[in-house]
């Protein structure tokens, strides 16, 4: 149990997907303008990451047993894409309230590198099924944490008075992300 919590906490704080490993930068910079959309996106990512890991881990074991592990990339992306579509349809029909909260973000994260990244990472690191699920959960929570923190930072960046003209907009966003990422480096070495 301690091992599982260590895996989860270290991927939330030390190896944060967005701020330390550069996975999922596009949604991190694109959807973090408003706090409520940042939370919605983060929650959808947690959901899809755990679901995708739950589906792809057994599939890889099957591929591996037939010695066609090299098909991993093709199979994983297809499984994730169809899974997300399926879940979206099911949610729309049976749980409309959840679909309303997460639905719009679901198709967007099919092609999110953080989701494919976590499934491949679980295989590369030889994690067990339970460890993989916790790793995916932690990665999702870390993504949500980074999104929420950055949405707060961007709220105060709206006023660009005094910023040199070439730095307005995108460069300013990137440099504030650098400072946020710097602060997360303070966690390094927290878990072995």
């Amino acid at each position: 149990m301690v091992g599982l919590i260590t895996i989860m906490m270290s991927v939330i704080l030390v190896d944060n997907f967005v701020l330390a490993q550069f996975l999922g930068i596009c949604p991190f910079l694109g959807v973090s303008k408003k706090l409520d959309s940042a939370i919605g996106m983060g929650a959808a990512v947690i959901f899809v990451m755990v679901l995708a890991t739950a589906a792809t881990w057994p599939i890889y074991q099957a591929l591996d047993s037939f010695e066609i592990g090299y098909l991993q990339t093709v199979v994983f992306i297809l499984v994730i894409a169809s899974l997300v579509q399926l879940v979206e349809m099911i949610l729309k029909k049976y749980v409309p309230s959840l679909h309303k909260a997460l639905g719009v973000y679901l198709p967007l994260i099919t092609t999110n590198c953080a989701v494919l990244g976590v499934t491949i990472m679980n295989i590369n690191d030889n994690l067990t099924y339970i460890e993989s699920l916790f790793n995916a959960l932690g990665a999702g929570i870390g993504f949500l944490l980074a999104m929420v923190l950055f949405a707060g930072v961007r709220g105060t960046l709206e006023n660009e008075k005094g910023v040199p003209a070439p730095f307005r907009g995108v460069p300013l966003t990137l440099i504030s992300a650098a400072i946020l990422s710097l602060s997360f480096m303070g966690f390094s070495g927290l878990f072995q």
């Binding site: 297809l78 894409a81 590198c113 494919l116 710097l182």
Partner: protein
């Protein structure tokens, strides 16, 4: 002929995928820790981009419109697997240092974006030229970022020592914050030198290559309609 040349060269500066269109940010930040890694990643992605652009341009009449994104993804994933196996066999050191980001070329927005925005509407030759131009632009940007980060962060360039031990290199440039910082400064530099020429881009859904097939768009359209109705009332 001039038109073909324009397709080829627009990816270099004017529509540079990383520095102007702001696509493919994840691999740009993650693999630009040294000049070699940056250029290696750039070349791998270029190979996939050219091949997938050609195949998708050939298949554009056969692929049904409704399932086009999954079809593009399968084509791209096939080429990524080929590149992955080739790298593993012939350049194992690069394969090791790029690691996870080789399979992740599949979800690189540049490749899917060019398939959706260019290859699905243009001829095979134009699509191939577009792939070459965009790929070189991507490689240039990654090489530039990798060179800057390696120079300041490790004091070397292509593995050769530059400072010769006189100055301690600033290791932070090799780490995550350095990546964001160098990228930010480069975008600012491009903004400065092209202040009048190109329109300003921002990080938002409007610039996402998948915007047309994404349900956030429908959501926004509904919102806009509601707002209009509200304004009329």
């Amino acid at each position: 002929m001039g038109k073909k040349l324009a397709i080829l060269t627009k990816g270099l500066i004017k529509e540079n995928p990383v520095l102007v269109l702001l696509l493919g940010t994840c691999p740009a930040l993650a693999t630009s820790t040294s000049l070699i890694n940056g250029v290696g990643m750039g070349i791998s992605a270029t190979a996939v981009l050219i091949c997938s652009n050609i195949v998708i341009a050939m298949l554009k009449r056969i692929i049904p419109d409704k399932v086009r994104i999954p079809c593009y993804i399968v084509v791209i994933a096939g080429f990524v697997t080929i590149v992955q196996l080739l790298l593993q066999a012939y350049v194992p050191s690069l394969y090791k240092s790029l690691g996870l980001f080789i399979p992740l070329i599949v979800v690189n927005c540049i490749i899917l974006g060019r398939a959706e925005m260019f290859a699905s509407k243009n001829s095979v030759i134009d699509s191939a030229l577009d792939g070459i131009g965009m790929g070189i632009g991507f490689t240039l940007a990654l090489g530039l970022m990798g060179g800057i980060r390696e120079f300041f962060g490790a004091g070397t360039l292509m593995g050769f020592s530059i400072y010769a031990g006189h100055i301690d290199p600033m290791g932070i440039f090799m780490l995550a914050p350095g990546g964001f910082f160098v990228y930010g400064v480069l975008v600012a530099a491009v903004n400065h030198f092209t202040a009048n020429g190109t329109k300003k881009k921002s990080f938002s859904c409007d610039d996402c290559p998948l915007f047309n097939s994404c349900s956030l768009k429908e959501d926004e359209e509904v919102k806009n309609k509601l707002e209009k109705k509200g304004a009329e009332a």
